[in-house]
């Protein structure tokens, strides 16, 4: 079909000789396999940090905000710094899934799922800070415009803090439904592969009974397009409104009209850095290097470079406008940032955010995975300092020099921040083991245009598909009989009839002509399973390669060990590859 055409100069987005089924197997693998040791180590560390954070939050709420390092001059410090930092990180997910969808950027498909997960988890962390800063979080519903016992006292709709309530909750909930509707077909894929009843139940619950009808897909695509159209201005509005928390005040250093675009660019900047941090690890751990390629990392690095440069322009504009305004308080606020007692925070911000992304002009550096990972961490740190500089250093020297002070965080401040990082990683690590981390249904749609296999076929002038003339198998199924329902037709353990049927399908092994293969080369077959297979009469890769769902089930019934193992590890596929290599 002509619609699959893509210019040959574009590099493939899915590497390797992948068929549609290979995509399924690769993306289901992390969910169906077992967690390795490094996952458990990472999870334990994250959980410990999370529990430490919970302890700090409980202490804060039971004792009061006095447990933080705030004082009467600096009323906002780490809490709001962390809030803005986490909200900002969230922005990349929506940008990737919504804005890049509108621009028809196919490379988003490998990373949008995880980026959206990151959005949801980080906005959850962000939401915690205003909540605990309220002091009495059980009264949080007071921010909602609901009739109350105080007569007709309503919330103040003129306040940017209330705008924030609406913006963040709309953002979180819309991101969540955007993410979930996209997940339905992928959960359905996992559901249909699940062999254990419990998994099957859970994934059919999560997939909302997705069946993949043509009409459902038509609606699905429309819903995604409209949601992308809605989420694009939404994501821009969220950080705009967060910046209003500062920009609508009259505090020198906060009262800045360039805050909205400057904050949005900064949010995308920090968010892409976090996506890079997470995905560089995930592609390795979950063996997804064929989907999240170096090209993906390079493109994200370019976005980091661009948005980092916008942020740099904003910093310089701020300085210029402070000087040009002629307002001495404004001028002092910026002079104090760069040369006052918090100079180190200011220069850390400048180095990390303005200087470090400029390395990405060099192709060698932006295609280096180690370097990208390093810069992504640097940017995350830099963006935290940006918020700290804006918030704390603008407050610590106000109009009255006798009130000037410094901020030092208590262990509760630090613990709460570390706790949210722990919470974030707990959620992300659980996600990585239970959710399809790549939007596999979407990736399958670009296989023919951007998959390496099909690109090679096209370059060689070969057709991408052939209508096979082989006669299809015709199966006539009568109404389901009671025998099947009662499970009476399933062969029992060591059933001779079942064995004969299995070997009929797989072919028999002739020791005089053939040589037995080492079946343990197939992942999932151990010495014990090999012995069992040999006992049945299966000795070669060729035989294993012929196995289909029907044979797997027969085998499971006969051996009664590791049900579903063979299908999950795709023994037939593995055996085919091994047989070809022989």
């Amino acid at each position: 079909m002509a619609s699959h055409y893509e210019a040959p100069i574009r590099k493939p987005l899915v590497l390797g000789d992948k068929s549609y089924h290979d995509v399924t197997v690769d993306i289901a693998a992390p969910i169906e396999g077992k967690a390795n040791k490094s996952w458990w180590i990472a999870f334990s560390i994250a959980l410990a940090a999370f529990i430490w954070g919970v302890g700090c939050i409980i202490y804060t709420i039971s004792t009061g905000i006095g447990t933080w390092g705030l004082n009467k001059t600096i009323g906002w410090a780490w809490d709001i710094t962390n809030f803005v930092w986490w909200v900002g990180i969230g922005h990349a997910g929506t940008l990737i899934s919504a804005v890049l969808l509108l621009f028809r950027q196919k490379w988003r498909m490998a990373i949008n799922r995880s980026a959206e997960a990151m959005t949801i988890f980080s906005v959850m962390q962000a939401g915690l800070f205003p909540l605990i800063h309220m002091g009495r979080p059980w009264l949080a519903y007071w921010v909602l415009p609901i009739p109350n016992q105080f007569g007709s006292l309503w919330v103040n709709f003129n306040s940017p803090l209330l705008w924030d309530v609406f913006a963040i909750s709309t953002y979180l909930s819309v991101s969540l439904v955007f993410w979930w509707t996209g997940l339905l077909p992928d959960f359905a894929m996992i559901r249909d592969r699940a062999v254990k009843p419990f998994q099957k139940k859970i994934y059919s619950l999560l997939s909302f009974g997705w069946s993949g009808r043509a009409k459902d897909w038509q609606r699905f695509e429309e819903v995604h397009l409209v949601l992308a159209g809605l989420a694009t201005p939404l994501v821009l509005s969220v950080h705009t409104i967060v910046s209003f928390d500062f920009a609508t005040s009259i505090v020198p250093g906060w009262h800045t009209t360039i805050f909205p675009p400057y904050f949005v660019a900064g949010a995308i900047f920090s968010g892409f850095a976090m996506v890079n941090t997470l995905l560089i690890i995930m592609r390795k751990v979950s063996a997804l290097e064929d989907y999240i390629t170096v090209q993906h990392i390079e493109l994200m690095n370019i976005v980091i470079m661009l948005t980092g440069s916008i942020v740099g322009c904003a910093y310089i504009t701020e300085l210029f406008i402070a000087w040009y305004s002629g307002v001495e308080y404004e001028q002092y606020a910026f002079l104090n940032r760069a040369t006052g007692p918090y100079w180190w925070a200011y220069w850390a911000m400048m180095t990390c955010n303005v200087f470090s992304p400029q390395f990405m002009w060099f192709k060698k550096l932006r295609t280096s995975i180690m370097f990208s990972f390093f810069i992504s961490i640097v940017v995350n740190i830099g963006m935290w300092f940006e918020r700290f500089v804006i918030i704390a250093t603008s407050l610590h020297r106000d109009y009255m020099p006798s009130a000037w002070t410094m901020f030092s965080p208590t262990y509760v401040d630090i613990g709460t921040f570390i706790g949210t990082i722990g919470f974030f990683f707990v959620l992300f690590l659980l996600y990585a083991r239970t959710f399809p981390v790549i939007a596999q249904a979407e990736v399958k749609t670009i296989m023919k245009s951007s998959g390496e296999k099909y690109k090679k076929l096209r370059d060689a002038g070969k057709p991408l598909y052939q209508i096979s003339t082989a006669r299809p198998v015709i199966i006539e199924k009568g109404p389901i009989t009671d025998d099947v329902l009662m499970g009476e037709e399933v062969p029992l353990k060591d059933d001779k009839v079942g064995l004969a049927e299995l070997l009929d399908a797989l072919g028999t092994f002739d020791p005089t002509k053939q040589e037995a293969d080492n079946l343990q080369q197939i992942k999932g077959i151990g010495p014990q399973m090999e012995a069992t297979l040999n006992q049945i009469g299966i000795f070669t890769f060729e035989q294993v390669a012929r196995m289909t769902v029907k044979e797997y089930e027969l085998l499971d019934a006969i051996t009664e060990s590791f049900p579903g193992r063979a299908q999950r590890d795709d023994w037939a596929g593995q055996a085919r590859i091994l047989n070809n290599k022989k």
Binding site: T24, R191, W210, K215, I241, T445, T469, P472, I474
Partner: protein, 173 residues
Amino acid sequence: MASKVIHAFYDDDDVLMHAVKKVRAAKHHIEEVYCPFPVHGLDKAMGLAPTRLAITSFLYGCVGLVVAIVMMNYMMIEDWPQDIGGKPSFSFVENMPAFIPIMFELTVFFAAHLMVITFFLRSRLWPFKEAENPDVRTTDDHFAMEIEIHGNEQELRDLLLDTGAVEINITEK
């Protein structure tokens, strides 16, 4: 009532498209096609009407905007007008600039959520709903075309045999 259906399985989206066009050209009604991923142009080839979800979303957005305006006018202007920071709330038009962020947010909130709820209800998707795809392979790499049989089993079989199907199932539904 038990009716007989024929399921033709394909393992390639382009082959499926050819088959759909062929079956349609032979004036048979395609009951359904189950796909593992969206196939572009399939809805047109099958003769499905375009979806109106985008229109509903626009209408829901208008509802959200009206809700926001009515709510803020009632709460800030009519029910308890206050003078906050020297900016009295006695006129909706004069105070409106401060209401724009929430007007926007509620428009998006209504448009997005109500459209998704409409989608779930129209496509019959909700927790505990049983999946209805005829074969587990249709969420992996197979496409299933479902055609109802009305005493024309042999004719349909012959038609489907050389469309490149990998498997043809005839089942009671």
